[in-house]
């Protein structure tokens, strides 16, 4: 069943065209047969998935079907799943079986989903290519010589390859949007505080946000509906009513003011991506939107600012992985220091260690003011840029990435170039805003992503804008060459 969306599956289940068990089995078969080409899953929970599917079928027969009853999805292996290994793609947690579910996992389970398994990612979500995983790199179904993007590369590749209709992701600096763009998918980073972070292994606490990844904006709306909402276990989640996102998909867009930041079309942007974005903006014009040029003057500071704040928070967040209570512990430590040093040296990969070192340095006595405090000041300026822009526009549009999917290994040895792949996505996390990436064309056979950025807690407008574009385009319906 290629190109199935959640909405398709729900229709099929309701019409009894197939049962949840049948479709779950088909996805499991597909994973079994084809994931060897992509490496998108770290753990496949086949038995559990089939049991959940049968329970879903029973519930549906009894007329007690929850909104997503029987829909198979996959979870990024950064969300804790009770009784199932939650590795964060790190040797450090290769042996870690979470004793509890993340709030996102729990809420999606309550909504009736079936969990196929846990998808690959960059180790501790640190990366833009999914090459830093302890379980090996993920390949892009559109071109298996290329990366799928990261850090939610496993979720993106699984969906693009037809191994799952949708998946969860997390986005700290673009980790949902960039792989969605590189794999021809629709992925939403919700407003910071919209989705609970409880049970989502922290990378950079003030930036991390879980969200949906799928083929369509409609599927994103369905998933976000189940994931969103206040959680008393996360002090940074917002106690706000969650709107009906699906009902908002057809919200009238005429007169919508779309701001286009000139800084997002500067040098470094692939010209074919630039013209694809221009073309999609034209579609919006035809839909009655007004396109306005705007400026986000501190855009060039977003990447350096991010690479202070995110590693600083990560350096503390990853201190708990010390070999004492759970996770990897080195063999025969000779004393406490040796236990710490070798467990962490052997348990973490290179990129993780690089970021811990950067963060530790930035917070060090004597450097704090020059780095961390300065970065926080810049963060406020970046937020002010957006606040200013949203006085005159409703959403902001631009490319999700400057380049399409790049070759595996191409940027591994050059972290700075790699970091620049996130130039358009990072500012959104620093400002806490919601943003969506949706397919907007192809360049040399590789997908292009259009990014729409919204006001705080206005995911509805983003989903509506993405959905209505998808009613007039078929980029999101294209299937990757090898997909099931």
């Amino acid at each position: 069943m290629p190109n199935h969306t959640i909405a398709d599956i729900l229709r099929g289940l309701e019409a009894k065209t197939f049962s949840s068990e049948e479709i779950t089995q088909q996805y499991l078969n597909a994973i079994n047969k084809h994931d060897i080409n992509y490496n998108s899953f770290i753990t496949v929970t086949a038995e559990q998935a089939l049991a959940q599917a049968r329970a879903a079928d029973t519930a549906r027969q009894n007329g007690s079907a929850a909104p997503l009853c029987g829909v198979p999805i996959a979870h990024k292996d950064i969300f804790c799943t009770e009784g199932v290994r939650t590795s964060c793609a790190s040797k450090m947690l290769d042996n870690f079986i979470a004793p509890y579910n993340a709030t996102v996992v729990e809420r999606l389970a309550t909504a009736g989903v079936v969990t196929l398994g846990k998808t690959n990612l960059d180790e501790f979500a640190m990366g833009s290519s999914n090459e830093t995983s302890y379980y090996g790199p993920v390949r892009n179904p559109w071109n298996t010589d290329c990366v799928p993007g990261g850090s939610s590369g496993g979720s993106a590749a699984a969906i693009a390859a037809g191994l799952a209709p949708a998946a969860t992701g997390t986005d700290t600096g673009g980790s949902i949007r960039q792989p969605a763009a590189l794999c021809g998918l629709t992925g939403l980073k919700p407003t910071y505080g919209r989705v609970s972070r409880y049970g989502m292994i922290a990378f950079a606490s003030s930036l991390d946000q879980g969200g949906p990844m799928a083929k369509t904006a409609e599927d994103n709306a369905l998933l976000l509906q189940a994931m969103a909402g206040f959680d008393h276990r996360d002090s940074t989640s917002m106690d706000l009513a969650v709107p009906d996102f699906r009902a908002g998909l057809n919200k009238d867009l005429s007169g919508l003011k779309i701001g286009v930041p000139k800084e997002y079309f500067s040098e470094g942007l692939d010209p074919e991506i630039a013209s694809a974005i221009e073309a999609s903006l034209n579609e919006y014009r035809k839909m009655g939107a007004e396109i306005k040029s705007i400026s986000l003057p501190h855009t060039h500071l977003a990447v350096p600012c991010y690479y202070i704040i995110a590693p600083a928070e990560a350096s503390a967040n990853l201190s708990r992985f010390d070999g004492v209570r759970y996770g990897y512990r080195c063999e025969n430590p000779k004393d406490l220091d040796d236990l710490y040093c070798r467990s962490r040296a052997e348990g973490f990969g290179e990129e993780v260690k690089r970021r811990i070192l950067i963060g530790t340095y930035a917070l060090s006595s004597g450097f704090y003011d020059a780095y961390y405090r300065k970065a926080q000041q810049i963060r406020r300026l970046i937020k002010q840029d957006f606040d200013e822009a949203f006085k005159s526009v409703d959403i902001i549009a631009g490319p999700t990435t400057p380049n399409p999917a790049f070759a595996l290994g191409e940027k591994v040895s050059d972290p700075l170039t790699m970091y620049l792949e996130d130039i358009y996505t990072i500012a959104v996390n620093l400002a806490g805003l919601p943003a969506i990436s949706l397919p907007a064309g192809f360049t040399k056979g590789k997908p292009i992503g259009l990014q729409l950025i919204g006001r705080d807690f206005d995911e509805t407008t983003l989903l509506a804008a993405a959905h209505q574009y998808q009613q007039r385009s078929d980029w999101h319906q294209q299937a990757a060459p090898g997909s099931v």
Binding site: P99, Y198, A202, A204, D234, A316, Y326, L363, S364, Y372
Partner: protein
């Protein structure tokens, strides 16, 4: 050279909340290892802290009690260091914006003089777990029951000038937190812990000397001894031409010496930064108003009231108000006895001596306030003499009866005031001592007074102390024809 001692204290006070500062686990002391540690306390991946409001309120109460500014938007920070009993690899504490700002604590010294000690600030933080180094065949055990217990750390200015002042300040803090009911103040269980920054300087010099930090001195007595020992060490060191090093030192109470901790343990750059998992703690004026309204009477106010309302001396009132349970006990005795001065004498005298002898807290006194009040009533209405009263007190202490009355009854200790019965006793004594009667009759007024004591003593002896001395005196005067 004459030296001046400069001391500042950092006091950690465990707050008596039911659950931990950032998780729902219980804070009860003494449970089996790691039975009170949840996923949050274990710092399992993905877990997040949620602030316990009760801990915040208790910290604010302390701030209000020392007239401090309450920070309306205090911020939690992460203090980063690795230690096995610190599960997250950082302690969540407050650095730049502590909840309690500068305040004042007044102490009274043994000569009756008072001093004002400035509190620099007090902040909220979480306690660490415990590392257990015995019984694990060369390995260490970790107990995380204590991890996440709410603490306030009260940091004083370097305002104390002697070990005595430091102890008086520590006692005052102990008194305030127990009066407020925000801590049980039990130093033996680590509910209240003290570090002391100690330095010396030539008298008259303004600049402070280099300080040493004495860690974890966990009783009032050890605080005094540790500081005195450290001061002597510093004086000797400097007078021998040496220099004090800024370092952390441990007090060894067995050897009565301080010695440096391994420098490795303190070579930390804590890399403080605001904790992104917790929002700033915003405190509304209404919360402060509510807490102010709920504020119990504090030791200074109580001492003043005891002096004014009960006419007690400053000394007695000070003794009685140092610890809230003592003050509560005293007030209960005074109200049941109907005589505050007698109540004060008994609580500060007989009772306090007995408690000290058996090393008991007043809350565990075998004699209840009501029993002691009942005893004092019998003294007041002349049912028993002061001497018999001590006997009755001992009997109450040993649980020989439920009340003073029951003991007086069962032991037949009631004072005899009946002139018929006492008259016969007087006659007997006079008949048995004809010589003394003769001498008395021949003596002058001055000598007679002395000799009267002899007869009173004989009669008291014959009555086993139960004769009413007043009645005996008048009977003797009558019968000796005085």
């Amino acid at each position: 050279m004459e030296w001046e001692v400069v001391i500042g204290l950092e006091i950690h006070v465990q707050l008596t909340t039911k659950s931990k500062i950032f998780s729902g686990s219980s804070t009860a002391f003494g449970a089996d290892a790691n039975t009170q540690a949840s996923a949050v306390d274990l710092a399992m991946p993905g877990t997040l802290p949620v602030l316990n409001e009760q801990a915040v309120k208790k910290a604010i109460l302390f701030g209000l009690a020392i007239n401090a500014d309450i920070c309306r938007d205090s911020v939690f920070d992460r203090k980063n260091y690795f230690y096995p009993d610190l599960p997250k690899g950082y302690q969540t504490t407050q650095m730049d914006f502590p909840i309690v700002g500068p305040g004042i604590v007044e102490i009274t010294l043994s000569d009756g003089s008072t001093r004002r000690i400035r509190v620099h600030h007090a902040h909220l933080e979480e306690d660490a777990g415990k590392s257990l180094h015995e019984d694990y065949q060369g390995m260490s055990g970790i107990d995380l029951n204590r991890a996440g217990t709410p603490l306030i750390e009260i940091v004083s200015e370097p305002d104390m000038r002697s070990a005595e002042e430091a102890v008086a300040y520590l006692r005052k803090i102990h008194s305030i937190v127990t009066y407020l009911g925000i801590s049980d103040g039990d130093m033996s269980q680590g509910s209240l812990r003290c570090d002391a920054n100690v330095s010396i300087r030539p008298k008259g010099q303004e600049e402070y000397g280099t300080r040493a930090e004495l860690k974890n001195i966990n009783s009032f007595r050890f605080v005094e001894r540790a500081i005195k020992t450290e001061v002597l060490r510093q004086i000797e060191l400097i007078e021998d031409g040496g220099k004090v090093k800024q370092e952390t030192r441990l007090y060894d109470s067995d050897k009565n010496e301080t010695r440096p901790m391994r420098s490795k343990e303190e070579a930390n750059d804590y890399r403080y930064f605001p904790c992104p998992d917790l929002l700033p703690v915003h405190v509304e004026q209404s919360v402060i108003d509510e807490l102010l309204a709920s504020m119990p009477e504090l030791p200074d106010a109580k001492r003043q009231r005891f002096e004014e309302e009960f006419g007690l001396s400053a000394y007695d009132a000070g003794l009685l108000t140092g610890e809230r349970p003592v003050a509560d006990y005293f007030e209960a005795v005074a109200s049941s006895a109907g005589d505050a001065k007698l109540a004060a004498n008994w609580v500060n005298g007989e009772l306090s001596a007995a408690l000290n002898r058996e090393n008991l807290a007043i809350t565990n006194s075998p004699v209840t306030a009501e029993q002691l009040g009942g005893l004092i009533q019998r003294i007041r209405d002349n049912s028993i003499s002061g001497k018999i009263a001590k006997q009755v007190f001992d009997a109450l202490w040993n649980k020989e009866g439920d009340s003073a009355d029951a003991i007086i009854d069962s032991k037949g200790l009631k004072q005899v005031s009946d002139s018929g019965a006492l008259g016969a006793m007087v006659d007997e004594v006079l008949a048995a001592n004809p010589e003394q009667v003769e001498q008395f009759r021949g003596a002058d007024e001055g000598k007679r007074k002395k000799m009267l004591g002899f007869f009173v003593g004989q009669i008291m002896k014959a009555s086993k102390g139960q004769a009413n001395p007043g009645v005996i005196n008048s009977l003797l005067n009558e019968k000796l024809g005085g």
